[in-house]
């Protein structure tokens, strides 16, 4: 039963017994893993306040090859990400990102996906207030791509023809087919018709090196819908609580600012 140390982010925790919790971790060296944190609910637990949703640190795990539940020996927190809880949009985006990692990442080493997850959480924490929506959409697309599910955006999903958006015509997109169609292959009624400008925004959102596009509220909603539909399709899931809540701005329902007045 080797003791292994790896960077990790807490994706989910749930109560296991009176004093213990099970922690689902995105680890850099072991992929997504579950571990039991014994005694974490006792008042003077050695885990302290470290095992909080989205906190990042160095985890020490007793790794059981034959089992799915490992034992967490220690977690030295390096980044608590408390700031994310001070803003509903940032938190909802981070929760959606955590859910994608939980559902799409295998329990195998994926350092690049881990680094993409933490970069996405950093982006959400540091984005300007106007840029939070675009930051979350980008973080999701980039993570999905790093996990091997990325959409084909530069070339046609059918025949690989390069997409030339310069003529200003809309581009057909299908989550089920995994990306965009050239004009020749586009079905008569594609699930989504992206106006040229939205297609350019989609390209920029998928390119970590590009500047974040400025999205107004309706465009941000459309891009949220697009990436959420894409993820749900690839997971064959009708609903994903955190992703749906982020997509639909669930926290805005009771907020009287846009609705009531």
């Amino acid at each position: 039963m080797p003791l292994v140390a790896t960077s990790a982010v807490v994706l989910q925790t749930y109560r296991y017994s009176e004093s213990s919790k099970v922690v689902r971790l995105a680890t850099r060296d072991l992929g997504v893993q579950s571990a039991i944190a014994k005694g974490v609910l006792r008042p003077r637990s050695r885990f302290g306040a470290a095992l909080e949703f989205l906190s990042e640190g160095e985890a020490q795990l007793y790794f059981h090859d034959s089992r799915e539940l490992h034992t967490l020996a220690a977690f030295d927190v390096t980044n608590l990400r408390r700031g994310l809880a001070l803003d509903m949009a940032r938190f909802a985006g981070a929760a959606a990102l955590a859910q994608v990692m939980l559902k799409m990442a295998p329990p195998a080493p994926l350092p690049a996906a881990f680094d993409t997850l933490t970069a996405g959480l950093e982006l959400l924490a540091s984005a300007s207030p106007e840029g939070v929506e675009a930051a979350a959409v980008r973080a999701l697309w980039v993570l999905v791509t790093e996990l091997g599910f990325g959409p084909s955006l530069a070339s046609c999903v059918r025949d690989g023809a390069a997409i030339a958006p310069s003529d200003g015509a809309p581009v057909a997109f299908s989550a089920a087919d995994g990306g965009v169609f050239c004009r020749r292959c586009a079905p008569a009624q594609p699930p989504t018709q992206l106006p040229a400008e939205d297609y350019r925004d989609l390209l920029a959102l998928n390119d970590p090196a590009a500047a974040l596009p400025a999205l107004d509220a309706p465009h941000a909603a459309a891009h949220r819908r697009l990436v959420a539909r894409f993820v749900r399709h690839h997971l064959d899931a009708e609903s994903l609580s955190a992703l749906d809540s982020w997509e639909g701005h669930a926290w805005a329902i009771l907020s009287p600012s846009p609705a009531a007045s």
Binding site: L11, Q12, Y14, S17, E18, P43, R44, F47, G48, A49, A50, E52, F53, L54, S55, V77, L80, R81, R82, L84, A85, L86, D87, M88, F91, A92, A95, A96, A98, Q99, L102, S241, A242, S245, W246, A250, W251, I253, L254, S255, P256, S257
Partner: protein, 200 residues
């Protein structure tokens, strides 16, 4: 399955009770006079039959409204918002809070499918609304990530009412030892430091 096994199995489902303890409790009950075990059985039945959620504050109670909501000596201008009914008990044990409570029935947790609609928020807004006399809402959700985001949400939802919204402090436990406190707690205690005054 024997009657003994039945009871052991049921008791072992309770938090903190393993199979061995369940067995010990079962044999203990068998040694008591029958009325003794009967009283326990009655109390369990009664608690399930009589205890409901207070229609005003969401606390657990066997009268409507609960004793705290019905008590005219409680300060109606102060409303303390907590996640669970058990948290009311924790604050009441201190004997230091004379206001009233509002139990949310949980905290926001998107990955567990708990969104705003699952919390008793509309009732909270009614209670804080115009003419209610509530001057301050104390947000006493847990200092966890989910408790914090719930506090953020409450602040956002309550802002239009103009009521004062405060958050309970975080920091070192009383009787604690700096040397053994974790980094996060120490950092938060430093952040939440305050002026020292004679009154303390």
């Amino acid at each position: 399955m024997s009657a003994i096994d039945d009871l052991v199995t049921e008791l072992a489902k309770l938090p903190g009770i393993g199979r061995k303890t369940a067995q010990r409790l079962t044999f203990h009950l068998l040694k008591q006079p029958p009325e003794e075990a009967g009283r326990l059985a009655d109390a369990i039945r009664q608690v399930r039959e009589r205890v409901t959620v207070c229609g005003v504050c969401g606390n657990l109670t066997d009268e409507e409204p609960c004793a705290i909501c019905a008590d005219p000596r409680r300060d109606g201008a102060l409303l303390c918002v907590v996640e669970e009914a058990a948290d009311v008990g924790a604050i009441e044990r201190t004997g230091r809070f004379r206001g009233r409570y509002h139990v949310l029935g949980g905290r926001l947790s998107p990955l567990d499918g708990v969104g705003p609609e699952a919390l008793r928020l509309e009732r909270l807004l009614e209670r804080v609304g115009n003419g209610s006399g509530v001057r301050e809402v104390i947000v006493a959700t847990n200092p966890s990530m989910e408790g914090e985001v719930t506090a953020t949400y409450l602040q956002q939802v309550l802002r239009p009412t103009g009521v004062r919204v405060t958050r309970i402090a975080r920091g070192l436990p009383v009787g604690g030892d700096l040397e053994y406190a974790d980094d996060v707690t120490i950092a938060q205690a430093l952040e939440a430091r305050r002026e020292m005054s004679e009154a303390d």
